[in-house]
Amino acid sequence: MKLTLKVWRQKNAQTKGRLETYVLDSVSKDSSFLEMLDILNEQLIADGEVPIAFDHDCREGICGACSLTINGIPHGPDRATTACQLHMRRFKDGETITIEPWRAKPFPVIKDLVTDRSAFDDIMQAGGFITARTGSAIDANEIAIPKDDSDYAMDAAACIGCGACVAACKNASAMLFTSAKVAHLNSLPQGKPEKDRRVLAMVGAMDEAGFGSCTNYGECSAVCPKEISLDMIAQMNRDYLTAKVKTFFSQKSA
């Protein structure tokens, strides 16, 4: 395949970036999208230019490192597919492809296509856990958990933390990411004791990091490589409201 690539180049966070055009010959249609970028980088090195920096690691759709906006869509055109799992057979010979980083204020560009997504870690550190010290657990089968509840928790827990949801949202909202984690832990009996604290702390951290609010566009779920459902956001809103009301009354009675 022959391709024309328009790639976002930006030396560092302080400098301005721009789209550069590159032409690439003889790309196999069986190559993955990132393998195509490898070929381009090899070509750039051979030409004495600086190769394109992009985040990637597992290349099997699970680590959540890859973060490319391809033709305006986070992770590109395929449903439920990360950029690393996207294959060149999806594109036409002679096609022009535009590749940009995640575009969201809370994810500043570090270099080229690499962004800083540490705001997600901050949200997790605020409350994305069940307090269970090593060694203090009861036998795993002491608590029976209905299969449906467990399956629902797993649907939520499938989130890979890539940030496509934020990149796709006009408001750069992190509601889908945050709600997936909240739904995972709040729907399990083990997560109940910290349910209220968790949702309040995580939503608080999310707001503090500068993510926008949710106005129900649904773009987040549409681009999510793990197809996390908008229901998670609805559940988080319910949990948040309940927790708020409870805190309000417990403060009054105190």
Binding site: A65, S118, D121, M124, T131, A144, G161
Partner: protein, 647 residues
């Protein structure tokens, strides 16, 4: 140097309990005076960092990824073993221990494996408490599935994403400690060397990958949980960033490297498609519960399939050779990984391969879809089937999958004693980075178990023992002003400058690919004396060429992925030679190490217990000298070595 594994006294089943009682403790109010460095944030590193922080130690944790949640443990698919015997099918700590020692072809240390089996049950409890959503039955209790090398069902799983869920569990515990200030997390930092003071590991030199700044970090001890070295083969199922650097640098600072030739070739991966490929994708071994592996009986049919002139489904039953079921009737498609991989290679060598390249066999779900229904198969393996279709373009519900073995895991690693301490005092190695539990072949669903066992349940005791032995007066004494830090930092800087100054014509990736080809050809699924001798010379020559002709673009003081890659490839170049030396020294076949000189008429591996029942631990003695071999004899009291039969 005499290797002392420090195996505790007493019967196997009491060793760990006795040891825990005898070792030193650090009282809770003193723990805050100690600092511990953990390199790596996967299952072993993440679990250790979180657990040690919970106990009150000050922990600094480092990872090269942009978040600890992305460590490569996340990619493990199938499951985690534990001797819970929830299925009432005869499992026990002793059976898990026995299966693991046998599965490792009697090249693992009994005491460590027994402890692993012992703590396996607590791991499941711990993970459930953290909210890991393991698969469950309708009654609400935990489900299990079977895995290779075992005749009981002891594998716990979370769809095809078990590693992800376990890692998110450890990551959530770690995140809590980061939030509390008990762990200082350094993302996008790569460890480039170990610093020893008075012979003890007291710190590391790291490069901040975002800015290129070289930093010194001092501590009272250092834990390396830096994963395996499968990427020495260039193509493997490992993540792109997985590397041997931390282990190799520790080796050059005096830690012994054990059994480097013990690598695992996983039987069920998607075949190579061409020369632009950057990695291989694993299809979980759990698929072998329901998929049947076959090739056509005759080469003519295989050729027609390869050329696209025959539909696999139209090959009649009598024309198919279900070779694992035929050769190993009692384990069938669930024969261990090394054996299954070799059988697939033999079939392809005989011209029966079905992929375009000739290197591929079928994994067929036709019968199980008829038996169980498409819906059930979809529930069990849906995401794996989707992934296969995404990569290959074929629909495995309708046409059989094609698979071929690929490098997946490395059993070798830094030599550690029973405390997981290397030969450098105060330097610990955990998870895939050490060598201890899997011998010459790892059974499926055991890597997650070992990583978490080391991190949650072993290191919190043994690190305390080391610190306790050093005494409270030693806590925090070493700082980064020490001249030893100065010297090591100078080495690190010198190497980076050298890489950037060569300005040759060939990219680091190209060198990596050439190295991988040598290692795969001569130190892969079949190894021979001549081949290995040739490979050692080839690797040496390639290394020289690398240091004369590599082209590393960009600068040292910026985010520079090619510089990172070049450093890792340089270490693989050194390590690849060690691996071949070890394979040459081990003049027997065992587990994943198959020396063509040692096989039965049927092509089964022939072990030599009389001469090779030892751990081969290599000591670095200088740049231009051959490393020195030290042997730790392996003594089997409970699992007597026998011919490993799965027939």
């Amino acid at each position: 140097m005499k290797l002392d594994a420090k195996i505790p006294e007493g019967p196997l089943s009491e060793k760990w309990a006795n040891h825990k009682f005898k070792i030193k403790l650090v009282n809770p109010s003193n723990r805050r005076k100690y600092k511990v460095i953990v390199v790596g944030s996967g299952l072993a590193g993440g679990a250790a960092a979180a657990s040690l922080a919970e106990m009150g130690y000050n922990v600094s944790c480092f990872c090269y990824q942009d978040s600890p949640r992305r460590a490569h443990s996340i990619a493990a698919q199938g499951g985690i073993n534990a001797a819970k015997n929830y299925q009432n099918d005869g499992d026990s700590v002793h059976r898990l221990f026995y299966d693991t020692v046998k599965g490792g072809d009697y090249r693992a240390r009994e005491a460590n494996v027994y402890r692993l089996a012992e703590v396996s049950t607590s791991i499941i409890d711990q993970c459930v408490a953290q909210g890991v959503p393991f698969a469950r039955e309708y009654g609400g209790l935990l489900a299990n599935r079977s895995f290779g090398g075992a005749q009981v069902s002891r594998t716990f799983y979370a769809r095809g994403q078990t590693g992800q869920q376990l890692l998110l569990g450890a990551y959530s515990a770690l995140s809590r400690q980061i939030g509390l200030g008990q762990v200082k997390m350094y993302n996008r930092h790569e460890m480039l060397d170990v610093v020893k003071v008075d012979g003890h590991a007291k710190g590391i030199i790291v490069r901040n990958l975002m800015t290129g700044t070289i930093e010194r970090h001092a501590a009272d001890c250092v834990i390396l949980a830096t994963g395996g070295y499968g990427n020495v083969f260039f193509l493997s199922t490992n993540a792109q960033g997985c590397n041997v650097t931390a282990a190799q640098r520790a080796y050059k600072r005096g830690a012994l490297f054990a059994n480097p030739c013990f690598t695992q070739i996983h039987p069920t991966c998607i075949p190579v498609h061409g020369d632009q490929q950057s990695k291989l994708t694993l299809m979980s071994e759990s698929l072998r519960n329901d998929g049947r592996i076959w090739v056509p009986k005759d080469a003519e049919t295989a050729k027609k399939i390869r050329e696209g002139n025959l539909e696999p489904n139209s090959v009649p039953e009598e024309g198919r050779d279900y070779f694992l079921e035929r050769k190993y009737p009692s384990f069938g498609n669930l024969a261990p990984r090394d054996i299954s991989s070799r059988a697939a290679k033999e079939a392809c060598d005989a011209g029966l391969g079905v992929a375009k390249t000739g290197l591929g066999v079928f994994l067929d779900f036709r019968d199980s879809i008829i038996r169980e229904g498409k819906q059930t198969i979809k529930e069990r393996y849906g995401n794996l089937f989707d992934m296969y279709q995404c990569i290959s373009g074929d629909n495995p519900y309708e046409t059989p999958m094609m698979i071929f073995p690929a490098v997946h895991y490395t059993m070798g690693g830094l030599w550690v004693d029973y405390n997981l301490e290397t030969t450098v005092p105060g330097l610990f190695a955990a998870g895939e980075a050490n060598f201890s539990d899997h011998g010459a072949n790892r059974l499926g669903a055991s890597a997650l178990m070992q990583g978490l066992a080391d991190g949650y349940f072993v290191l919190p005791y043994t690190v305390g023992n080391y610190l306790g032995e050093q005494g409270i007066a030693a806590a925090g004494k070493v700082t980064t002003d020490a001249p030893e830090f100065e010297a090591v930092e100078k080495d690190v800087r010198g190497r980076i400058d050298r890489l950037l100054s060569i300005k040759g014509t060939e990219s680091p990736r190209s060198f990596h690919k050439r190295l991988g080809q040598i290692i795969w050809d001569e130190c892969g699924m079949a190894r021979s004396k001549e081949g290995l001798e040739k490979a050692i010379e080839q690797v040496k020559a390639l290394r020289e060429e690398f240091w004369q002709n590599v082209r590393v673009p960009g600068e040292a003081d910026e985010l520079n992925p090619e510089l990172e890659r070049a450093g890792r490839v340089a270490d693989f170049m050194e390590f690849g030679e060690l691996m071949c030396r070890d394979a040459l020294m081990r003049d027997e076949s065992c587990g994943g190490h198959f020396r063509v000189e040692h096989q039965t008429d049927e092509g089964e591996a022939v072990r030599d217990d009389e001469n090779f029942a030892f751990v081969g631990a290599w000591q670095y003695v200088g740049e231009s000298e051959a490393p020195t071999l030290h042997k730790e004899p392996l003594i089997f009291e409970a699992a007597k070595p026998s011919v490993r039969s799965y027939k």
